[in-house]
């Protein structure tokens, strides 16, 4: 972890103590009242435990017993607000240590906010922690009911048991053939049992294969319930890419069944709602930016007449929307929305 001091251009790498000392000496922010400085990693990955240290001082003297909080800006349900994710009290060195788990894939701007006990206003300290791309995904929630012993191992045991019996029968058939050969030596007749042996071999081979496939299953693919625990040795497996709707355009949550949602009077706003309502966004991504299924629409759609024709016709892979389903008027709004986005 590398640490970054506040408002100072100097980069100080190791301990908070040093950060505090240097800031104490140089800090332009300490001219009046309490000043805050922060040590935090420059970037983190999703799923990581992150430690943020805030150092409070007043005129170069550490502030003990002050309460601070770590907040960040989050958008939820159409509202943007500050959300507190950790808080702590400073010790005798003026240091407060806060730990949080990185869950979002974008932190927005973070702040250390002074909560008391003093009543004089203290400027919050703003900083950012970048989130590395490509960390584990945390969208798996621990839902469901776990029943002891009712799990994949049980399934493997059942399959293995069944196959033990199947293989056993095949082996018995091979032995039928073998029993015949022994007697044959006396009667000098030729006999063969290879078909029985082959059958037994095939059955046992398939049995072992089945069990291996099942035992390997969690290894063969990302197991979401154990992020990072299994190696995902599937480099050569080309899975269809996933589009994460939330990354580009946080879903602001409107009721699609609520007709007034698309009757704000602003055709662009209405068009946005309608693009969700008629599922354009499902394939073309929100704002028509282009998704896995449908191509980008922004700047690609030409004249309105042309647009209507395309939508009514439903080119390859796209459903045709008839006038009964989607009126020209609504289509006009969607068009306006897409045009506004270019």
């Amino acid at each position: 972890m590398s640490y970054r001091p506040s408002r100072s251009t100097a980069r100080i790498a190791t301990s908070v103590m040093i950060v505090a000392t240097i800031l104490g000496l140089s800090g332009p922010a300490f001219a009046a009242g309490i000043g805050i400085s922060v040590g935090a990693p420059e970037s983190v990955a999703v799923g990581q435990q992150v430690e943020v240290k805030a150092v409070l001082s007043e005129d170069g003297v550490p502030v003990e017993g002050a309460e601070v909080a770590l907040t960040y800006k989050a958008t939820l349900g159409g509202k943007t607000d500050r959300v507190e994710i950790a808080s702590a009290t400073t010790d005798e060195t003026g240091t407060a240590v806060m730990v949080y788990e990185q869950r979002a894939n974008d932190n927005g701007e973070m702040q250390i906010v002074y909560l008391g006990p003093g009543t004089d206003p203290v400027d919050p300290f703003e900083f950012t922690i970048a989130v590395e791309k490509g960390g584990v995904q945390l969208y798996h929630s621990e839902s469901g009911v776990k029943i002891p012993f009712v799990n994949g191992t049980l399934v493997i045991l059942v399959i293995a048991t069944v196959w033990v019996f199947i293989s056993l029968s095949a082996v018995l058939l091979a032995r039928v053939g073998k029993a015949g050969i022994v007697e044959d030596e006396a009667s000098a007749e030729s006999g063969s049992m290879w078909i029985g042996a082959l059958l037994a071999f095939a059955a046992i081979f398939t049995a072992v294969g089945m069990v291996i496939v099942f035992v390997r299953a969690p290894l063969a693919n990302t197991d979401l319930s154990h992020p990072g625990e299994y190696e995902t040795h599937i480099d050569e497996y080309d899975r269809t890419e996933l589009a994460h709707v939330g990354d580009l355009d946080p879903y602001v949550g409107f009721g699609l069944k609520d007709e007034s949602a698309a009757q704000t009077g602003d055709p662009v706003e209405d068009g946005k709602v309608l693009s969700f309502e008629y599922a354009c966004a499902a394939c073309h991504a929100p704002s028509g930016l282009g998704g896995v299924v449908g191509p980008a629409l922004i700047g690609e759609i030409g004249s309105f007449n042309n647009f209507v024709e395309e939508v009514r016709d439903g080119p390859k892979g796209m459903p045709a929307y008839s006038e009964a389903t989607l009126s020209d008027a609504d289509l006009q709004k969607i068009y306006d929305f897409l045009e506004a986005g270019r």
Partner: protein, 468 residues
């Protein structure tokens, strides 16, 4: 009255007839099947090079005739298990003449059914990904497992009871058939001499397979149903699918067995062995399963219809009154009610009546598979019009080729394999004549106990192919 020896001679003569006598009609029939199959291969070559675009499957209705065929044939494959394993386990002696055909249908239908999974894949070579990267959370993976297990088990279960008959063929027919088939019989008969040790080993193998194949068979069609019911789709979202699929599988399997029996009986004059009693019993079985299917259907539709979710209305409308109504009501009336009615009256409780019922059941069950697959996908989950799907010529050709392959494999098997469990039939006949049961396999167990094993008389008969 027939002596035992006459009876046995006649049995061998009549049942080996398909192997020994090949008429020109056989060749015409074979050529016809090969032509139909070849057309399927040719049409598939188009799909191979152009992709699934040559079918009518698209993004919304992405499963069609191929998956229907897959479910249908896997269903038919349940004939063998039920007839053979359940009746064998419950010691129903009337089963003897029909077990072999049932087991054969199982193996053949499984091969055909499983190939439709590959045919449905746009990139069939990716099937290996199931083994390399499969995740056990996926019902597709369970399906591959279950079908592989079932196929292996049913091949063994077809083969094991056939060994004494193959030995009979080896002893009796070797000088009447060509070198290839002679080599075949010598190999697959596994040195069968009906030695006490062999009888004991074989009896064990048959018993193990008989017991293990029943849960396997039930699991197979349950897992096939899970492919649907584990998917979030209106119409598939029901817990009764496993039961519906397993019952439907046995239902259509029995119907197919009746048809195969009826045709072969006609051609090879097997009236003595495939008696009206067999058809009648199987007809009763059909009627019983039809009743059960009605019950399951009511259960399924009433529970979801009573609560009717928003999209459920569309699903119900298309099935009961709109696009698929004809199929659906044929299934209910033709496939479920009519067979029961036919079995209810003495005048229709004949071989002809049972065969008519079986034809209706097979068609109805095909329709049922079709509308389960297609209507489930057709319910729009996004606000656009429901998609349409009608199989293209390529799809129909390949589907028909699947049926041709099924018949082709049976046709070829006629030339090679014993179509009857001759030893079981002999055993049963003896029991009827002597009114004294001498179970072949059990006898060996008892004989082996006193250190000087002696084979029971009927076992010797199998060894010598004659009667003492």
């Amino acid at each position: 009255m027939d002596t035992m020896s006459n009876w046995h001679e006649r049995l061998v003569r009549k049942t080996t007839r398909p192997t020994l006598v090949t008429t020109y009609r056989y060749w015409v029939w074979l050529a016809f099947l090969v032509a139909v199959f070849a057309n399927g291969v040719f049409q598939y070559s188009k799909q191979w090079s152009n992709g699934l675009y040559v079918t009518d499957m698209r993004d919304r209705i992405s499963w069609g005739l191929y998956i229907t065929a897959f479910v249908f044939f896997i269903g038919i494959s349940h004939a063998g298990t039920l007839i053979s394993a359940i009746l064998r386990a419950s010691k129903a002696t009337w089963r003897a003449p029909i077990t072999r055909m049932a087991e054969l249908i199982t193996a053949v239908a499984l091969i055909v059914g499983a190939s439709f999974v590959l045919i449905d894949m746009g990139r069939p070579e990716r099937i290996f990904n199931v083994f390399r990267y499969g995740r056990w959370q996926s019902p597709i993976m369970w399906d591959v497992m279950a079908i592989t297990t079932y196929l292996t088990a049913s091949v063994i279960y077809l083969y094991a009871p056939m060994i004494p008959d193959l030995a009979l063929y080896r002893d009796r027919l070797s000088n009447k058939v060509g070198v290839a088939r002679r080599f075949f019989y010598e190999t697959v008969a596994l040195n069968w001499r009906a030695l006490p040790s062999q009888v004991r080993l074989l009896g064990k193998a048959i018993t193990i397979m008989m017991l293990i194949i029943m849960p396997i068979a039930v699991s197979v069609h349950t897992v096939v149903s899970w492919i649907f019911s584990m998917t979030l789709r209106v119409g598939w979202n029901t817990s009764i699918f496993g039961v519906l699929f397993v019952a439907g599988a046995i239902f259509s399997g029995v119907a197919t067995l009746i048809l195969v029996m009826a045709v072969l009986r006609r051609i090879y004059h097997w009236e003595e062995y495939l008696t009206p009693k067999h058809f009648l019993y199987l007809g009763y079985l059909l009627a019983a399963f039809a009743g059960f299917m009605i019950y399951v259907n009511i259960n399924e539709f009433l529970t979801s219809g009573f609560k009717l979710e928003e999209e459920g209305e569309f699903a119900f409308r298309q099935l009961f009154v709109d696009d698929f109504a004809l199929m659906f009501w044929f299934y209910i009336i033709g496939g479920l009610l009519t067979p029961i009615t036919l079995m209810l009256f003495r005048r229709t409780r004949t071989i002809a009546g049972v065969v008519v019922a079986a034809v209706l059941v097979d068609i109805a069950m095909f329709f049922e598979r079709y509308f389960i697959v297609v209507t489930g996908l057709r319910v729009p989950l996004m606000p656009y019009e429901p998609a349409s799907y009608s199989p293209t010529f390529v799809e129909w050709s390949i589907f028909v080729a699947g049926i041709a392959l099924f018949l082709l494999l049976i046709t070829i098997a006629l030339k090679v394999l014993p179509m009857f469990a001759i030893w079981e039939m002999t055993e049963e006949h003896e029991r009827n004549v002597a009114r004294e049961p001498i179970p072949i396999l059990q006898g060996a167990h008892e004989g082996g106990g006193d250190g000087a094993p002696e084979s029971p008389p009927d076992v010797e008969r199998l060894a010598e192919g004659g009667v003492s």
